[in-house]
């Protein structure tokens, strides 16, 4: 796997803390500083309860920090109103989840098209771009199938197509291979590696060290803090 030059900061957490609860406080994240740059393929690892999912939610602006800032290409997003924050999230970040989270009554094509709604695109343009995204994950032949008619691997590839159809700056994946068999997991990781580009970063949250070994940067977490952040030679 060749390394890609790293450049501008796409997504950063600046002194971010996240505390849950009112009477009993749970410090899920403590004063985290993280910078994700274009071209990076990184993983966030840690045991259960280490705060990696909380961090993914904050990186994806699905959640707001108790303190600190989240910046997308330098713009502080946690202070923006919901509509603006949602628009930025839709444009800058693509999500892939362990449980795929496809809309069950939509076809693969319909699920991918969902990411392009409300962007003032014609139906024809939405369809064209969605088919292109499906082609990148080799699923055009399943475009008219619903999730229930597809295997787990195909569903995850559909989810990846949905994540990349908007051409996001960062792809955030939460345990993307967790629900897949070894073969499908390997295929999915290959796709993730291929998503990296000079303009884009790919970030995978996992507890699987093999998956983490395939990335070029590994961030280890424990008790809501980053305990190590190291570059590594990716092992495919």
């Amino acid at each position: 796997m060749s390394s890609t030059p790293v450049s501008e900061s796409l997504l950063s957490l600046e002194g971010v803390s996240r505390v849950y609860g009112e009477e009993v406080l749970v410090h899920a994240l403590r004063d985290v500083w993280l910078d994700i740059r274009a071209g990076e393929f990184l993983s966030i690892v840690g045991p259960s309860g280490s705060g990696k999912s909380t961090m993914l939610g904050l990186l994806g602006v699905l959640d707001l920090p108790t303190s600190g800032s989240i910046r997308i290409q330098g713009t502080e997003v946690n202070t923006l109103p919901d509509a603006e924050r949602s628009r930025l999230r839709g444009e800058a970040i693509g999500f892939v989840f362990q449980q795929f989270h496809l809309v069950p009554h939509l076809t693969a094509l319909g699920n991918v098209e969902t990411a392009l709604l409300y962007r003032n695109l014609s139906r024809k343009e939405r369809r064209r771009r969605s088919l292109e995204a499906l082609e990148k994950v080799d699923l055009v032949h399943r475009a008219d199938h619903r999730p229930i008619q597809m295997s787990g691997g195909e569903q995850q590839r559909t989810a990846i197509a949905r994540a990349i159809v908007t051409e996001p700056l960062v792809v955030l994946a939460d345990e993307p291979t967790g629900a897949l068999d070894t073969q499908n997991a390997s295929n999915v990781m290959e796709i993730f590696a291929g998503l990296r580009s000079p303009e884009r970063a790919v970030c995978i949250v996992t507890h699987d060290l093999e998956v983490a070994a395939a990335t070029g940067r590994r961030i280890s977490m424990l008790d809501g803090e980053i305990v190590s952040d190291e570059s590594q030679v990716a092992v495919s």
Binding site: F95, Q98, H101, Y118, D174, E175
Partner: protein, 396 residues
């Protein structure tokens, strides 16, 4: 606009994906609207014949009967010619006809029938010449009394349609009838007078004949028929004053269609009760929509979470669910109005009613359904918008 189209597409896709649930939600507004439309429609249609008859008759005929202004006992009140002329000059009046009913004259189709017709007297009415115009009734055959008949006191008569049938009168035949032993030539037959059925079995002669043959001393009418297409009721109220002008002559008036009009009025109490019941059904339907949609929001929390992750704002999510409610309201309203109209048609066919269905009423009740559905959708849509995506997506 494109955004709105996309929202409708998403809402319709969400509804069609769960057909049974959607059908169950739809039942509320459908039943509510159908119940109101059907009940009001059947109520209206049951009066449809009367309403149709009223339209045919018109409601602008006034009848003024002479009465002594001071109510003297045993008087034989009349409406003087000049008083009738004053009535005719009223701005809203288009036609006035005076009549005088004669009494104690035996009318016979032929001499041998005397015994029978002495027991069943036929009314003889002396009339002004414009009676068919004022009553808006054509002649079945022949002609009505004319100026020549009046000027020359010709012994000619026009008979009512029932009498013509009873006498076996053949249209345009040369025939005479005996009025108190005097032969009169029948020159025409007047069609049915729906507003004054007694005329159907009457004989009409000129006032000149009444004076010449029957020694009527005062050839003034006892009754005026007045057409006033505008301000009918106002004119009816004014006529007694116009007739009397403070003098001894007087008149009381009535509008013959008033009773029919009253009968044709739909029972408003029943209608209001129906509307209340239907409204209640719609409210229950609305509660059903709110309830089922709230459950649906929970069931679809993952979908809501992923849409939020894909960049849809809370407002967009709320709007999506609100549009689902709107679509339910529109579909429920249209289907309910259709079902209600179908029930009205079916009952009208079975009961032989004249079907009356207000199109504006259909729109009105369908709109109420839309309103109820949108209000009912407010809670679940707000609930959907408030869901935290992180909780619904169950990360890691």
């Amino acid at each position: 606009m494109r955004r709105f189209g996309e929202l409708i597409g998403v809402a319709v896709a969400g509804l069609t994906a769960r057909k049974v649930r959607t059908l169950l939600i739809l039942l509320g507004p459908i039943l509510g609207v159908a119940a109101i439309v059907a009940a009001i429609g059947i109520n209206e249609s049951s009066k449809g014949d009367l309403k149709a008859k009223l339209r045919e008759l018109g409601t602008d005929l006034i009848v003024a009967n002479a009465q002594d202004a001071i109510g003297g006992f045993g008087a034989d009140p009349r409406i003087p010619e000049e008083a009738a002329a004053r009535v005719a000059r009223l701005p809203d009046v288009t036609s006035v006809t005076g009549t005088l009913q004669l009494s104690n004259i035996v009318t016979l189709p032929f001499a041998a029938a005397e015994d029978y017709y002495r027991a069943f007297p036929v009314p003889i009415i002396a009339t002004h010449l414009n009676l068919p115009t004022t009553m808006d009734v054509p002649l079945v055959s022949g002609r009505f009394l004319n100026g020549f008949d009046e000027a020359s006191a010709s012994r000619v008569a026009v008979i009512g349609r029932d009498l013509a049938n009873e006498y076996g009168y053949i249209a345009n035949e040369a025939r005479s009838i005996q009025l108190g032993g005097v032969n009169y030539g029948v020159v025409g037959v007047l069609d049915y007078v729906l507003l004054e059925p007694s005329m159907d079995s009457a004989v009409f002669i000129t006032f000149a004949n009444a004076v010449e043959d029957w020694d009527v001393d005062d050839p003034d009418p006892t009754r005026l028929y007045i057409r006033a297409p505008t301000n009918t009721r106002y004119v009816a109220e004014e006529i007694p004053t116009v007739v009397s002008l403070g003098g001894p002559d007087g008149a009381n008036t009535k509008v013959p269609t008033d009773l029919l009009d009253a009968q044709s009025q739909v029972d408003e109490n029943l209608n209001n009760l129906t509307k209340m019941m239907g409204g209640l059904a719609l409210v229950v339907g609305g509660v059903g929509i709110a309830n089922v949609m709230s459950i649906s929001v929970i069931q679809r929390s993952s979908e809501i979470g992923i849409r939020r992750a894909l960049g849809h704002s809370r407002g967009t999510i709320a709007f999506q669910f609100l549009i689902e409610a709107l679509v339910i309201g529109v579909m429920g309203g249209i289907l309910g109005a259709g079902v209600g109209a179908g029930v009205v048609w079916m009952v009208s066919e079975m009961r032989d009613y004249t079907m009356i269905l207000s199109v504006s009423g259909l729109f009105r009740w369908a709109s109420v359904s839309v309103g109820v559905a949108v209000v009912a959708g407010l809670y679940p849509s707000t609930k959907a918008a408030r869901l935290e995506p992180l909780e619904t997506l169950r990360l890691g």
